[in-house]
Structures are given as structure tokens and as C-alpha cells.
């Protein structure tokens, strides 16, 4: 990747391509604009510094998101009074869940929307955002045990809804 060669123009191009969705996606997880803007800055600085760490596996956007969501988690670790537009939490991601979430339309949508908000939040943090249980707990401001139990409940309810 060009960024790894320290080209400022390449960083600018990457920024232009990816800032939009990153801002929107972070705003869905943290409603504070200032915090989100700073996290986006941190993310691209992280991209700049760690460009060599991108091994070309999977989409660049997924790599950027992995950096961005962790920067957001760090923010909440430092200042642990999260003001969430919503909640998120997590457990380990399974391929099965990813496949399920990858289904654009169909039976899954009502099943997910039928979950309680706190379960959806946990599901999103762990499955969609790829966070560990510990990271999800920081992000959501709840204990790790709660993350795990909510994740179990979410899975069970999803299975029942889809059965």
C-alpha cells in the first residue's frame, strides 16, 4: 500500500474515500460529534503510522474499522462515562453469525429488530464491530459477564426467531 511509503497524498486519498462511512458508523455508536471527530483523526493517524501492518488480507475498510472502533473503545476507557446513542457488547464472533448478518434482506432483519435494544447493542459490538468481550464491555460501560450473558441470550432468541 502506498501509505506505507509515507506519501501524504496517498493518505489524503485514503481519507477522502473512507472518512464518510467511518464518521457515520462511529456516530451510530457515539452521539458526541466532537468525540467522533477526534476518533476519526486518531484512526487515520493510526493508519498512517501502522500502514505497514496492513497485510492486504480482506478489505482495507475492514482494517480501518478495526483501528477506528478500538480508538473509540480507548476513549471510553480513559473517560469511562459513556453517553451512548446506543449500547454495544460482545462475545467471540462466529462465522455463522457473520454469514447471518451478511444477509442483506430477509427473515433475519425482523429477527434482529425484534431483540431487546441491549441485546442488539451487544450483538453489534461483538459480531459486527469485531470487538472482544473486554472491549465491548468498555464500550458499553457494562461488566464483561453481562456482555457474555446478553450475547448468549441474543443468540438463543435469534435461533428461536429463525426456527
Amino acid at each position: 500500500m502506498l501509505i506505507a511509503d509515507r506519501s501524504g497524498e496517498a493518505l489524503r486519498e485514503l481519507y477522502d474515500r473512507h472518512v464518510g462511512w467511518l464518521v457515520l458508523r462511529l456516530m451510530r455508536r457515539c452521539s458526541d460529534r466532537e468525540v467522533v471527530d477526534e476518533v476519526v483523526q486518531d484512526t487515520f493517524m493510526g493508519v498512517w503510522r501502522n500502514a505497514a501492518g496492513f497485510r492486504g488480507e480482506g478489505p482495507v475498510a475492514a482494517w480501518i474499522w478495526g483501528i477506528g472502533i478500538r480508538r473509540l473503545v480507548e476513549r471510553f476507557r480513559r473517560r469511562p462515562v459513556p453517553k451512548w446513542g446506543w449500547d454495544t457488547s460482545g462475545a467471540q464472533r462466529s462465522a455463522e453469525e457473520l454469514v447471518l448478518l451478511g444477509v442483506e434482506h430477509g427473515d433475519l432483519a425482523p429477527a434482529i429488530d425484534g431483540l431487546a435494544p441491549e441485546l442488539r447493542a451487544v450483538l453489534r459490538a461483538t459480531v459486527l464491530d469485531g470487538l472482544t468481550t473486554r472491549e465491548a464491555a468498555v464500550l458499553l460501560g457494562i461488566p464483561q459477564g453481562t456482555v457474555k450473558s446478553r450475547m448468549r441470550r441474543a443468540r438463543r432468541e435469534l435461533r428461536e426467531a429463525l426456527a
Binding site: 474515500r17 473512507h18 464518510g20 477526534e38 487515520f44 448478518l101 434482506h105 434482529i112 429488530d113
Partner: protein
């Protein structure tokens, strides 16, 4: 890819109006789909994107000593001051390691030569540090000094203080090699005197000249005192410390009187 994101979908996602399931699949889709990412960019105000970029490019253009800057900011230091301090050449690890090495040699030599080599060199560390803090020809912060509306005096004081603190802090390590604790502290006032003297003289001439003059004066003064005095290390003990204390007060007063001339210094 069987579908794409419409402007309406993107708008309701942005406004938190879309359902969670719809948002999830949209987010996953955006990871894969370049055209839809362009729609996402369009959903964020362009001045917001520009503002965020301004912060990134500023940080990327000034890659030095980020860790120190961040540490200072975490301790509540104003962001601009933190950058100014972090970019001072004489608080960089390379400089401090060099200083610690030289002082350690001097301190180890104290067992055979006495503490004088250490005590002569240690106060010169902040002197040289201040000189390279402001005199570096490719120092990017130099330009901040030139453009600063608040003027040079405050900048000079902040940077000189940072250099002094860093110099003293790093001297603690070699000081541990000295056999007597008092040799670790008797040079602090002389260090302050020498640094202040450099700043005062620099209002009349170039900073690096001032540093050379002060260094020569200091070495000559200590040598002469040691040769003339009947007891060893007379330049650092007893009445000498009182003289240094008086000199600090006098030089501080002089510095305040000369403060306006620092507007020029910062621009040099």
C-alpha cells in the same frame, strides 16, 4: 453484490432513523462497496470532513516526539505548549541520553578527580540545551516563534523551563554515581544562574554567542576560584551558594527588564 445503498437509505442511517438490522447490513455492505462509500462521504458535510483532515495533516506533518506531547497533554498541558515543548531539540531522548552518558563519565571520574568535573559540566547542560533549543536552523518550531502574536518572551521562558527541568531530571541518573549526596544538589543554583545569564546576554547578542560566553565564564570562574581558595570545591559550598542565590534574583530582575527584546529573539 445484489443491491446498493440509495441516498434515502444513507440519510436515514445517518439520522439514526434506520432499523438496526438495516443499519447492520448497510455497514457490512459499505466495507465492500466503493460506490456506496462515495454516497456515505456525501452524507457528511464537507466542512466537517475538511476540519477533521486539518487535524490529521497537522499531526502527520510534525511526526517528532508525539509520545512526549501526548504525555504532556494528558497531564493537562495546553496542546500548543505541549507541542512546543515536545519539539524542542534538547528534550529529545537522543540529546538526553548523550547528556546522561557524559555526566555519568564525569561522575565516575569523581572518585579519582573529585566532584569538580561533574560540577562544572552539569550546569552547562541546560546552557547548551537552551542554545540548541532556540538556535537550531531547521527547527520547525522556530517558525511558530516568528509568527506567534503573544511574543517571544513567554515562549522563551516556557522552553527554557522545559530544558532546565529535563536537564536536571536526566542529571539525577549520573548523580547516583557520586559518593556524596550534596554533590548532586550544589550545582542546581549554578545551573539556574548560567541559564538565566545566557537568556539575559542573548538580549544583546546572538543566543549561541551568549551560550559560548557563559560557558567560558563559568569554567574560568570555577577554575580561578578553585586555584585561589584554600579549601577544595570552594566554588560550590558555603558562601558560594549565597552568591548564586543572589545572582538568580538579580538575573531574574534583569530578564524582566529586558523582556521586550525577546520579541526579536524569537524571530531570529
Amino acid at each position: 453484490m445484489t443491491w446498493h445503498v440509495s441516498q434515502e437509505m444513507m440519510a436515514s442511517y445517518r439520522d439514526n432513523a434506520s432499523s438496526d438490522a438495516a443499519s447492520h447490513s448497510l455497514e457490512l455492505h459499505l466495507v465492500e462497496c466503493e460506490p456506496c462509500r462515495r454516497i456515505a462521504a456525501g452524507a457528511v458535510e464537507s466542512d466537517r470532513r475538511d476540519r477533521i483532515w486539518a487535524g490529521i495533516s497537522e499531526a502527520v506533518d510534525t511526526p517528532k516526539a508525539r509520545w512526549l506531547e501526548e504525555a504532556l497533554r494528558r497531564f493537562g498541558v495546553n496542546a500548543h505548549i505541549a507541542r512546543l515543548i515536545a519539539m524542542t531539540p534538547s528534550v529529545q531522548p537522543s540529546w538526553l541520553i548523550a547528556v546522561a552518558t557524559i555526566l555519568s563519565l564525569a561522575a565516575v571520574a569523581a572518585s579519582s578527580l573529585g566532584p569538580i568535573p561533574f560540577l562544572v559540566v552539569a550546569p552547562l547542560v541546560p546552557v547548551v540545551g537552551v542554545a540548541i533549543a532556540f538556535g537550531h536552523p531547521i527547527d520547525p518550531v522556530h517558525e511558530i516563534g516568528v509568527a506567534s502574536p503573544t511574543g517571544g518572551f513567554r515562549l522563551v521562558l516556557i522552553r527554557a523551563s522545559a530544558v532546565l527541568i529535563a536537564s536536571i531530571a536526566i542529571s539525577v541518573v549520573p548523580g547516583l554515581f557520586l559518593r556524596e549526596f550534596r554533590w548532586m544538589v550544589v550545582w542546581l543554583l549554578p545551573a539556574l544562574v548560567c541559564t538565566l545569564l545566557v537568556l539575559v546576554i542573548s538580549t544583546f547578542t546572538h543566543l549561541s554567542t551568549a551560550a559560548v560566553v557563559v560557558s567560558l565564564l563559568w569554567v574560568a570562574g570555577v577554575t580561578a576560584t578553585e586555584l585561589a581558595a584554600s579549601t577544595p570545591v570552594a566554588s560550590f559550598v558555603g558562601p558560594a551558594q549565597l552568591i548564586f542565590a543572589g545572582a538568580v534574583l538579580g538575573l531574574l530582575a534583569l530578564l524582566l527588564l529586558r523582556r521586550t527584546s525577546f520579541e526579536r529573539i524569537a524571530g531570529r
